[in-house]
């Protein structure tokens, strides 16, 4: 080894603490502050998207009641709701938020490897959010092309936001990708190159594994979105014909010829499918840690969990065209992509079994983070099983573009990751803020969200089987739909408003906790991972005081027989544990 690792050179470094208010909280290069900035911004746009979904539900539940929602608005709502939730909320929150907060703390690093770049990443992300939100206020409003932005419709007359909205959307995505790349390079390099002594890759908590692999997926998948955004921007502004065939739009020839709309779909879904796992893998990782900690049991099959994450990540790049079964591809493609899609079920099922087996005979503490984790297992199995329907070409064809699809992807990549996000915020809240929240209020929040989410999405499966098409502003008098379909829509709308309103409990709880919550213990859950064993609580700039931690075991030594506590922190030395009593992922 010619190159000396950072962990061995740490004592040679000088550590400067930021001093002014601005360097501490605004232009901060501290990964924890950047994580909170990312998190707050993401939650803020997420609330906008939540508001949009309530508006959509109002229109669908009571089609003739709300005259201020016209069809153009409705299409803008679905587009912005989808794009914000997938990219600007979940991707930013899991990687920019949790990634930033957890990676250096769990790896035992002082910070990300390039803190300045990390800071730049957040501010660029903020610019992309501002551009996106600005599109609501420009002439013609935001784009109404649907979150998939399929051409030719996305840049043809008749789609809302054709003048400026679509341009702002594409520019905002490009800026977001730049921001993500700056952050993502940092996360990957930190995990690979800046761990503390004794921290091997196979001793990393699964949270870090999930975020790490998701970041790699992002770095390899976002390029396809960037390229398709640039090409569509040129089709719109320079009248090139990358995606636009010769079309007649409203009786006028816009002047395009010879482009390939299917090319856009391929590029978009080459990004779009890994994107599902960019959102899901961090959730998988975090939920593993939550379940293990609150069940006081080591995670079942740690190595298998790691390899399952890697396999899912790899496979996610070869399944993209299962979103395009009805696009008019060669049928042999459908065969190939259906096969690869169903293969993904294997590592995913391994993970689900391992979560359940971790709970098996565990000492389960039904605290708020655990409730959200168990809720996640339910919703994820549910969404995963409907995925088997949609992954098969023959079953997908009649179900395409119905509410069944809406129910499936909301269950699997809407509700499930959001439950993990909420559970994770409750779990790490004491570390981030130094305060405890109200347990009872948290439990109410869980049950209202969890049961409410089922009340929204379970009926949608039936609507989908009945043939209710998605993305319709109003059904009108459609003969093949029974009248009861509308009754279900009313029920769904009421549940949606209930769930949206119940999120208030979360914010009330957190604001109350900040103002007058009791001080938390540095390690309230008796967890083993490094972030709970910082010298300061909450951790200060530089995380570890004078000495970097040294890791002696994996992250899951819970309820080890013969040890005084029911957990052994990762940084407890081998000499303090009775011989033969500690376990390690290595053995």
């Amino acid at each position: 080894m010619s190159y000396v690792a950072f962990a061995d050179r740490d004592h040679e470094q000088e550590h400067h603490d930021p001093e002014t208010f601005f360097t501490k909280y605004i232009w901060s290069q501290d990964h924890k502050v950047i994580a909170i900035q990312y998190g707050l911004t993401a939650i803020f746009v997420g609330l906008i998207a939540l508001g949009l979904s309530v508006m959509m539900r109002l229109q669908l539940g009571f089609p003739n009641e709300f005259n201020f929602i016209n069809p153009e608005d409705y299409y803008q709502f679905i587009t912005m709701h989808g794009m914000i939730m997938v990219v600007y909320l979940l991707t930013a929150l899991f990687l920019g938020g949790f990634g930033n907060y957890l990676i250096p703390l769990m790896c035992g690093s002082r910070d990300m490897v390039f803190p300045y770049l990390n800071m730049l990443s957040y501010w660029t992300y903020l610019v992309s959010v501002i551009i996106l939100v600005a599109s609501f206020f420009v002439d013609g409003g935001a784009t109404g092309a649907g979150w998939t932005l399929y051409p030719p419709q996305a840049i043809s007359q008749g789609t809302p936001g054709i003048d400026v909205g679509i341009i702002l959307m594409l520019v905002s995505l490009a800026v977001f990708i730049v921001a993500f790349t700056m952050g993502g390079l940092n996360y990957v390099t930190t995990v690979l190159q800046a761990r503390c002594k004794g921290m091997t890759l196979m001793r990393l908590p699964l949270s870090v594994w999930g975020i790490f692999i998701a970041t790699i997926l992002g770095l390899l998948a976002f390029p396809a979105l960037l390229v398709s955004a640039i090409m569509m921007l040129f089709d719109k502004t320079l009248m090139t014909s990358f995606f636009m065939p010769a079309v007649s739009s409203m009786g006028i020839d816009p002047g395009y010829s010879g482009g390939s709309p299917i090319l856009f779909q391929h590029l978009f879904w080459f990004f779009g499918h890994p994107e599902v796992y960019i959102v899901a893998l961090p959730a998988f990782g975090i939920v593993s840690d939550l379940i293990s900690t609150h069940a006081r049991k080591n995670i079942f099959g740690y190595r298998m969990m790691v390899w399952a994450i890697i396999m899912i990540g790899g496979l996610s790049f070869v399944v993209w065209a299962h979103h395009m079964y009805v696009s008019g591809m060669n049928p042999y493609f459908g065969f190939f992509f259906a096969t690869t899609t169903l293969i993904i079920a294997v590592p995913t099922a391994i993970k689900v079994y391992n979560w359940v087996l971790t709970l098996w005979e565990g000492n389960i503490h039904l605290r708020v983070p655990m409730l959200f984790s168990i809720g996640f297992i339910f919703t994820f199995i549910h969404g995963g099983l409907t995925g088997l329907f949609l992954g098969n070409v023959t079953i997908d064809l009649p179900l395409s573009d119905t509410y069944f699809v809406v129910a499936h992807f909301h269950m699997v990549m809407g509700v499930s990751p959001v439950l993990v996000v909420l559970g994770a915020i409750y779990h790490w809240w004491p570390k981030i803020s130094g305060k405890m929240y109200n347990e009872t209020l948290g439990k109410w929040h869980f049950w209202m969200t969890f049961l409410g989410a089922y009340a929204i999405y379970l009926p949608m499966h039936y609507l989908g089987f009945a043939g209710v098409p998605r993305r319709y502003f109003a059904m009108g008098n459609t003969d093949f739909l029974p009248d009861s379909a509308q009754d279900l829509n009313v029920a769904i709308t009421i549940s949606a408003i209930f769930v949206a309103a119940s999120q208030l409990l979360f914010f009330i709880n957190m604001i109350w906790s900040l103002k007058s919550g009791p001080k938390s213990d540095p390690n309230p859950w008796d967890a083993t991972t490094l972030e709970w064993h910082t010298p300061d609580h909450p951790p200060k700039h530089g995380n570890w005081g004078h000495e970097l931690p040294e890791v002696h075991r994996w992250a899951y030594d819970y309820s080890v027989p013969g040890y005084e506590d029911d957990f052994i922190p990762q940084n407890v030395g081998a000499d303090k544990v009775p011989a033969g009593r500690d376990r390690d992922g290595e053995h």
């Binding site: 080894m1 010619s2 190159y3 690792a5 950072f6 962990a7 061995d8 050179r9 040679e12 490897v113 390039f114 790349t181 993502g184 390079l185 940092n186 990957v188 390099t189 690979l192 190159q193 800046a194 761990r195 503390c196 002594k197 004794g198 921290m199 091997t200 890759l201 196979m202 001793r203 770095l219 390899l220 998948a221 976002f222 390029p223 396809a224 960037l226 390229v227 398709s228 640039i230 090409m231 040129f234 320079l238 009248m239 090139t240 014909s241 990358f242 002047g255 010829s257 010879g258 482009g259 390939s260 090319l263 391929h266 590029l267 080459f270 890791v551 002696h552 081998a574």
Partner: protein, 228 residues
């Protein structure tokens, strides 16, 4: 197995054992500075961007209904009274590959801590890169004069101009960024900025990685756009 043996006695092994040893090590996977590891990951990501551009270009080339212009004719230059196909492109390619050579020498001189030679070789690389961009500007203006536009051209399929300006433009931006990057590092080398830094002149190699990558991408653009 005691930890001291397992984690600290890292020797450099080759082949499969070396791979396993790298990835099972604590502290760091690769024995390289952070900047270098990050540059590797960035270039991998950038590879996907250029791949998407090239695959997109090939896809529209197959999809379009109009005939594709013959690159040998479009990119021909008049020399000694004869049209020579791809003359300018050949010179540009030669220059860019030469610049990779001077860059490699600069990396070597950097490791020998020969500041003066490193500076001049990096400067030479930057000048070669800048002349590449200059010739690209010449090529663009010639084609624009002949009526090639992103939305259409007199030679055939409109996608020819669209792909040409988009791909060479994106690559030209990479070269331009590289020239600026080279100049910044070159002058810092000259001023002794890296003299007392822990990672010293390894930055020259990191700059070189980027430069070789941009060069390699050009080879693919040359093969798929100009020769096909």
């Amino acid at each position: 197995m005691s930890e001291a043996v397992m984690y600290s006695g890292a020797k450099e092994a080759l082949g499969k054992e070396g791979l396993i040893e790298d990835w099972s090590r604590d502290k760091q996977v690769f024995g390289v500075p952070w900047g270098k590891a990050m540059m590797w990951v960035f270039l991998l990501s950038d590879t996907f961007i250029f791949s998407c551009f090239l695959v997109g270009y090939m896809s529209v080339r197959m999809a379009t209904t109009d005939p594709w212009p013959n690159p040998s004719e479009v990119f021909a230059l008049e020399a000694f009274g004869y049209p020579v196909p791809l003359l300018l492109i050949a010179i540009m390619t030669f220059i860019l590959i030469t610049s990779s050579g001077t860059m490699a020498l600069a990396v070597n001189m950097g490791y020998r801590k020969n500041r003066k030679a490193t500076f001049w070789l990096m400067l030479a690389t930057a000048i070669l890169g800048a002349s590449f961009v200059g010739m690209q500007i010449f090529e663009w203006s010639k084609l624009i004069e002949e009526g090639v536009r992103p939305w259409g051209n007199p030679f055939g399929a409109a996608q020819f101009g669209s792909s040409f300006f988009m791909i060479t433009g994106f690559h030209g931006m990479h070269v331009t960024a590289g020239v600026i990057y080279l100049l910044v590092v070159a002058f810092r080398v000259k001023n002794g900025f890296y003299e007392n830094r822990p990672d010293g002149y390894k930055i020259v190699e990191i700059t070189g990685l980027y430069w070789h990558f941009v060069d390699l991408v050009w080879v693919f653009i040359f093969a798929f756009f100009y020769l096909w």
